[in-house]
Symmetry: C2
Subunit: 872 residues, 2 copies
Amino acid sequence: MKFVYLFSEGNGTMRELLGGKGANLAEMVNLGLPVPQGFTVTTEACTKYYDDGELISQSIQSEIMSNIAKLEEIAGSKFGDQEKPLLVSVRSGARASMPGMMDTILNLGLNDTVTEALAKKSGNPRWAYDCYRRFIQMYSDVVMEVGKKFFEELIDEMKEKKGITEDTDLTADDLKELSAQFKAEYKSKVGADFPADPKEQLMGAIKAVFRSWNNPRANYYRMMHDIPYSWGTAVNVQMMVFGNLNNNSGTGVAFSRDPATGAKELMGEFLINAQGEDVVAGIRTPRPISELAEEMPECYDEFVRTCGVLEGHYKDMQDMEFTIQDRKLYMLQTRNGKRTASAALRIACDLIDEGMKTEEQAVSMIDPKQLDALLHPQFDTAALKAAKSIGKGLAASPGAACGKVYFTAEDAVKASLAGESVILVRMETSPEDIEGMNHAQGILTVRGGMTSHAAVVARGMGTCCVSGCGDIAMNEAAKQFTLGGKTYKEGDFVSLDGSTGLIYGEAIATVPASIGGDFDRIMKLADKFRTLKVRTNADTPHDAGQAIKFGAEGIGLTRTEHMFFEPDRIGPMREMILASDTAERKKALAKLLPMQVGDFSGIFKAMGDRPVTIRLLDPPLHEFLPQKESDIIALSKEMGVTADALKTRISSLHEFNPMMGHRGCRLAVSYPEIAEMQARAIIQAAIDVKKETGVDVVPEIMIPLVGEVKEMGFVKNIIKETADNLIKESGSQLKYLIGTMIEIPRAALTADAIAKEAEFFSFGTNDLTQMTFGFSRDDAGAFLDDYYGNKIYESDPFARLDQTGVGQLVKTAVALGKKSRPDIKLGICGEHGGDPSSVEFCHNVGLAYVSCSPFRVPIARLAAAQAAIKSK
Amino acid sequence: MKFVYLFSEGNGTMRELLGGKGANLAEMVNLGLPVPQGFTVTTEACTKYYDDGELISQSIQSEIMSNIAKLEEIAGSKFGDQEKPLLVSVRSGARASMPGMMDTILNLGLNDTVTEALAKKSGNPRWAYDCYRRFIQMYSDVVMEVGKKFFEELIDEMKEKKGITEDTDLTADDLKELSAQFKAEYKSKVGADFPADPKEQLMGAIKAVFRSWNNPRANYYRMMHDIPYSWGTAVNVQMMVFGNLNNNSGTGVAFSRDPATGAKELMGEFLINAQGEDVVAGIRTPRPISELAEEMPECYDEFVRTCGVLEGHYKDMQDMEFTIQDRKLYMLQTRNGKRTASAALRIACDLIDEGMKTEEQAVSMIDPKQLDALLHPQFDTAALKAAKSIGKGLAASPGAACGKVYFTAEDAVKASLAGESVILVRMETSPEDIEGMNHAQGILTVRGGMTSHAAVVARGMGTCCVSGCGDIAMNEAAKQFTLGGKTYKEGDFVSLDGSTGLIYGEAIATVPASIGGDFDRIMKLADKFRTLKVRTNADTPHDAGQAIKFGAEGIGLTRTEHMFFEPDRIGPMREMILASDTAERKKALAKLLPMQVGDFSGIFKAMGDRPVTIRLLDPPLHEFLPQKESDIIALSKEMGVTADALKTRISSLHEFNPMMGHRGCRLAVSYPEIAEMQARAIIQAAIDVKKETGVDVVPEIMIPLVGEVKEMGFVKNIIKETADNLIKESGSQLKYLIGTMIEIPRAALTADAIAKEAEFFSFGTNDLTQMTFGFSRDDAGAFLDDYYGNKIYESDPFARLDQTGVGQLVKTAVALGKKSRPDIKLGICGEHGGDPSSVEFCHNVGLAYVSCSPFRVPIARLAAAQAAIKSK
C-alpha cells in the first residue's frame, strides 16, 4: 500500500486519498503552473496513524524519507545541509475544505547551524533568522502546544527594549537573539532541547497535523458541516519558497470573483516581504491585490493569467494562495472559494451565462443550506465582529435577532405591542406560548432539541430560535437568567444567531432578509430538474400563504392540535377532555366543530387546488390542561367543580412517558367521537370551499401513530362512515384520501398490512427517530454532547436522517407499502424534509414528496433538484 | 363452498372447520357410538356471518334446510309436524374448548300445536310442556336476550301459589300454564309473538350462537386463553333425545379420570328425569355417577365401556355428556377434560405408564402456564366459592394472598414483623418499596402494567401481585382506598388472586404451594427433550438459590440497580449522582465498589459454575433521588447543601420521557467511571470467588440500551481496559464476556455491526416491545383495554411476544448477529422468557437460552421441551 505521493504522481480526482489541497496541488503541477515540488502523505496514513494508537509506522516513515530524498534530488538540496539546505512546509489538507481549522508549519529543516549557513550564503541574515524564529514559534505551538503568546510576548519585549513598533524594524541580530530566546522558552516549557534534526522535526510536524484532525476546533467544524471523522486528513510536505526573502518577494491570497457579492472581479490582498501567516495575522495591514500591478506588473499579469487558467479548469470561483520569491510567482494552493449565499447564486447564474456551467451543474454547485441566510435577517457583519458570544445553544431556527428579553408569552406580547423588539426566553415553550412566540424577534430556550416545540414552531414562523442552552441558570420567578457569568433581567438586550446557536449579551444590529433575481432564476431551474414534490408543514392560512410564496406545492402536514390552544377553543377543549361520559364529550366537541370547519376552510382556500394533508389530533390530552395551581383553580371555578376534583382528574391523566402514551390514533380508539368530529369538520370545510370557489378540494386525512393495521382500520372506518354520510347528505361529489403517518417502528415493519388500509404514507421521521434510537428528543440534550464528544454520533439524528437505522425502516416501509398498493402516495413530514442530505435520501428511496416548514421550502426544492441531477 | 356437514360426513381431524364439539361428534359417529344424528354449520359460516354484516346468507340458509330435510328423512319425522315432529338442539362449538362461554338451545321445533300433539301422542303431557317451557325460556334468553330471571320469577310464583318447593312437583297443567305465561312475558319484553315457525326458530338460534362468539364472556375467555377472534364458532344442530321423558330417562356428565387429582377413576354426576342444564343449574342436586350402576346397570355398563373406547381412542382423559332416554344411552359430547395442574401431571405420568402416551406426547399435553398453580399458594376452593370480587386488575404475579392492607413499605414491614399477614397497597411501587414488598403476602397497585416495577419484582419474589387496578380511588394520605363502592382502611382484610387479577374485599383462606413427585418426573422429561437452556433473572443470592431449585441453569439478567437502594448504598449513590465533578463522583463510587464486590461474590458463589450475566447500571439517575419535600430536606442536611440547591439539581435531572432518557449505556458514555467501577467490582468478585472456591467463574458483562456500534465499542473499551488490568494485577487467569442487550430497534437493525463488538446478545424484549409499538408500559394501561375491546390487540404484548412486529426485529437481529459472529451467544431476558408461546418463538428463531423470573423457570423448561418436540 502506497501512503505517499509526489505531487507529480497525483491529480485532481484523488481528493479522497490526497485531500483537497494535495489533489489541487497535483492538478496545478499537471496544468504546468509554477508550484514548488512536494509530496502528500495520504488520508489513509492518517487513519492508520489513529488505528496504530497515534503512531506513524516505521514503513510510512521510510516512505516519507524516500520521498524527501526525491525532493532533495529534484532541488539539489539536502535536509540539514549547510551548503544547500532543504526547507519544507508541512500543511494539512482534508478531503473537504476546512479553512483554518487545522495546522501549518513553515521553514521546517532549520536549526542553528543551517540558519547560520543560510544567513551567510544568502547574504540576508535578517531573512534567515526571521525564518528560524517563525519556525521555532510555529513548531512549538503546533507540535508541542506551547502557546504562541509566550513567543509574542518575547517579541513585544524586544520591540519595547529597542523602542520600535513594527516587526519589520527588527534587525538580523534582534531576530537571532529572538531565536535563541525562543529556543530557551521551548526548553523551559517542554523540558527538552528544541529538535535540531530535520527528520525528527518532520515526523513531529506530520504527527501534529494528524493530531490536529482531532482538535476541538476541527471536531466542531466537522459537525457543523457533516464531515465524517473517519475521512482523516492528508499532509502536504512542500519545498519552501520565501515571500520574506527581500522586497522583491511577497505573499498573498485572492479570490477569482468577489466572495461577498459574486461580482466577476479579482479580489485579494498581498504583503511585500512576508510569509503566508502575516497576511491573515493582522500585524501588518495587507494591500489590495490591484496594487500588485504597480508593484510587480509582470508577477501580477502572470497571476491574473493563472487565475484565468484555474477558473477555466475548475469552472468555479477559485480561492488561491501565492508567494513571490525574487519576482517569481509560485502557486501554493487553489480551491473552490467559500462565498456568501447571494454570491453563490450570482456566480452560479454568471457561470451559466459565461457558458462555463450547464444549468444542471450550476444548480448543483449551491449548498442548499446557504439559502437560509437569504430568507432571514442576519447580523450586520461589522457589528458582529465587535461582539463576543456569552453562550451557545442549538441552532434551532435560522436567522439573527436582537431585542429585549421577556420571560412570559404575555409580557412578550405586551412589550411587542408597545413597539419593542422582543427576545422570548423560556425554560421550554408549550403551545400556550404561541402568541408570545409570534410577537418575538427571537426565541431562546433552556431545554429542548432540534425538534422541540420551540424549534418546530419557530421554524414554521421563520423566527430565529436558539434552543436547549443548558448552561443558562434560569430564575423564572425573578424574571432573569444567568449565562456566561452575567445576569440578564427583563428588558435587557440580548442577540441570538439561530444559524449558529450563539447567544450575545448585547444588542447587535441586524440587516433584513433579501431575495433577488438570481434566487428566482435558480429556484426555477431547480423546479425544472427535480422530480420530488415539495410541500410544507402549515397549520394556518397565513403559514400556508407564506409557504406558497416560497414555492410549496401542497401541505404535507397540518397539525390540528395547534388550533385548540386559541383562547376561544381551549375552553370547550378542556370540557371535552374532562367530560365524564361520551354524551358530555360529544357536547363539547359540538362546540369545537364549527371552529374546526372554519380552520380547515381557511387552509383549503389558501391552498387552492394544491393537496392538503390534515393530521387528526395527536398530543396526549393532558397537554391541554393547566398545570399551575392558580390556573387549575380558575378552571375549576369556570367548570363548576372543586379544585380538588379537578386536580384528581388532571393527575389521573398524568403519564410517565407522554411521548409513548395515550396520544395519536390511540385517542381515536378510546374516543371515536373526536376523530368523528374532526373528519366531519374536514369534509364539511372541503364541501363548503368547493361550493364557494369551485376548486376541487381533495383532503388527505392522516391518522397519526398507527402501529397495527387493525388500529388503522378501526379509525379509518370512523372517518369513512362520517365522511361518506356527510357527502351523501350534501348532495355534492367529493374525493378524499385516508392515510397514515409511519412513525412507529412496528408500522414500518408491518407496512404491507397497513398499506391495505392506507391510501398514503407520510413518514413522521421525528417520532420514528425517537423510537428507533430509543431516546426522547426532549431529553437527549442531556447526553448527546457526550456522544458527539466521544464521536459516537457525528450529527444530530433529529436534524439529519439516520440512514443506517431509521432509513432502513423507511426503505422497508416503502418496499412493503408499494407491494400491497403499487400506487400508494409516499411522503415525509418530519423535520428532515428540509434537510438537504435527508431530501436526497427521500429522492433515492422513491418518495413522491417532502414536506417541511415554509422557510425551508426553497432549500428542499434545491436539494431535490440536486438529488435528481446526481441520480441521473 | 360447503358450509354444513352431517356428522357422518366429518371426523375428528376437522376441528378447524367443525369446531371441537362437531369434530368429536363426527368422530364418535365414526367409532359407532350411539350419537343422535345431526349436522354442523362450520366456523367459516360464522366468519361469513360477520363479514356479511351479521347476516346468514340465503345460500347458507338453504344448505341448512336441506340438511334438516336429511335429518327428517333419517328420523322419519318433520319440522313442525303434529304426528312426528322433529326437535333439535342448537349448540355452539369452537375450535378450542370454551366451556360454558357460549350458548345452547334445546327442544327447538316446539310450538303450541306441536307441543299439544306431542303431549297427546306420548301420553306424557308433563314432559311435553316441560320441554316447551324450557325451550321458550332458553330461546328468549339466548336469542332475544330476555334474562332468565324473568322466567324463574314466574316459576317461583307458581311454586309459591301451589305450595311446592321442587320443580319436579309441578304438574303438566302447571307447566302448560307456565308456557303460556312465558310466551306472554316474551311478547311483553320483545314486542312480538314468540315465533311458532321452526325454521324461523332455527335461524334465530344459529344466529344467536354466532353472535355469542362476540359476547363479553367469550371475548374475555379468549383473551385469557390466547384464542384468536378470527377463528369463529361452529354450530351443532342435533336431533333431541330426552332425559326428561320419564323416570327411565336421565342425563349426566362425567370425567374418565378425576379432574382434581388425576386419579384413574370415573367421576361424574347424573339426574333422573332431567335435561342437561339441570345438572349444572344447581336447582336439583345431582347424584354421583356410581349410583347409576344401581339405578340402570345396563346403561351404566355401556357408559363405562364407552368411556374406555373414548379414552383409548383419544388417549387422554375425557369429559363427556350423555343422555338416557327410555334406558337407551346416547352420547352428546366428548372432549379432553380440563384438569387441575396436579391432575395434569398425574394423568400425564399415568398415561406413560399405561403405554397410552410416549414421553414426548405426555410432556406436550401439559399447559405450562398451569404449573404456576403448583408453585404458589392458592385460595381454598370452598372459601373462594363463597366470595365475590370487588374489582379487577392485571394478573401480574400468580398465586393467591390474603392479609391486612398497609399503604407504605414501612408500615408493611412493621405489621409483618408483628406477625400479621400483609397486603401492600401502593399507587405504584418503586425500588424503595422492596423491603415492604418482601414482607407482604400480596401486592396491589393502582398503576402499572405487566412489566411495571411491582409486577417484575413480585414475580421475581414469587409473591402474588395484582397491578394496574385503575378503578381504585386511592387516598394515600388517609391510608385508605375505595373500590367497588366500599372503602378499605389500614388493617382491613382483602384477598388477591394474582393469577386472575381479581380483588376480594374480605379474608379468603389459602392453601400453600405443593410440588410432588409427578412434577419432578415431568420436569426431568422436559429437560431431556429441550434444547433451549433456561436461565433466571435474579439480583440476589437468595433469588439465585430459589431459581436453581426450580432448575435454572444460569443467570440471564442481574439488575445491578436494585443493589443501590439498600440503606447503606443509597447514601454514596446519591453523593455520586449529585457530585459536581468527576473527582467527587469517583470518591463516591469508591465507597460503592467494595459493596458491589460483595454483591457479585454472593451471586457467583450461589451460582457455582453456572453462567451469570450482569447488566451495568440501567435506570436514569433521578430514580435514586428523593422526590418528597421532607426527604429532600433530610438529604440536603446530610450533604451539607441548601435544600434549594438540591432541589435545583434534582429538577435539572428531570426528564420528560425517562424511559427514553439518560439511562443504560448512555450513563456510561457520560460517566465512564460508573461503568469502570462496576466492571472492577464484577471482575474482582470473580477473581475472589475463583480463588476461594476453585470454581471457574466466567462473568458475562452486559451493556444495556445500545443502539449504535460505536456506543458499544466505547463502553466495551472501558470495561476491557479495567478488567484486563485487574486480571493482570491479580496474577490469576479469568475469562469474561462482554455483550449487550438488544432492546432498541436500531440495535436490532444494525446487529451485524454490533455483533462485531458484542460477544453475546440478550434480547430485552420489554423495552424492545415498548419502542417497537411506541408505547410505554407504564402508560399503556390507559388505552389497552379500549384496544382489546375493539379487537385491535388480542393479547398483552408485554406478556406475550408480538411475533409480527417485535419478533421480526428479533429474527433480523439473530440473522445479522450470526452473520458477523457465527458463535454469538443469544438469549432473551425480557419478561417474555417465561411465557410459553414466546419460549416457543425463541426456540424456533434459534436462541440458546431464555431467562425468566425464578418462579417461571419450570414453565420455561416445559415450554422449551414442548417447542423442541413440536419442531422435530
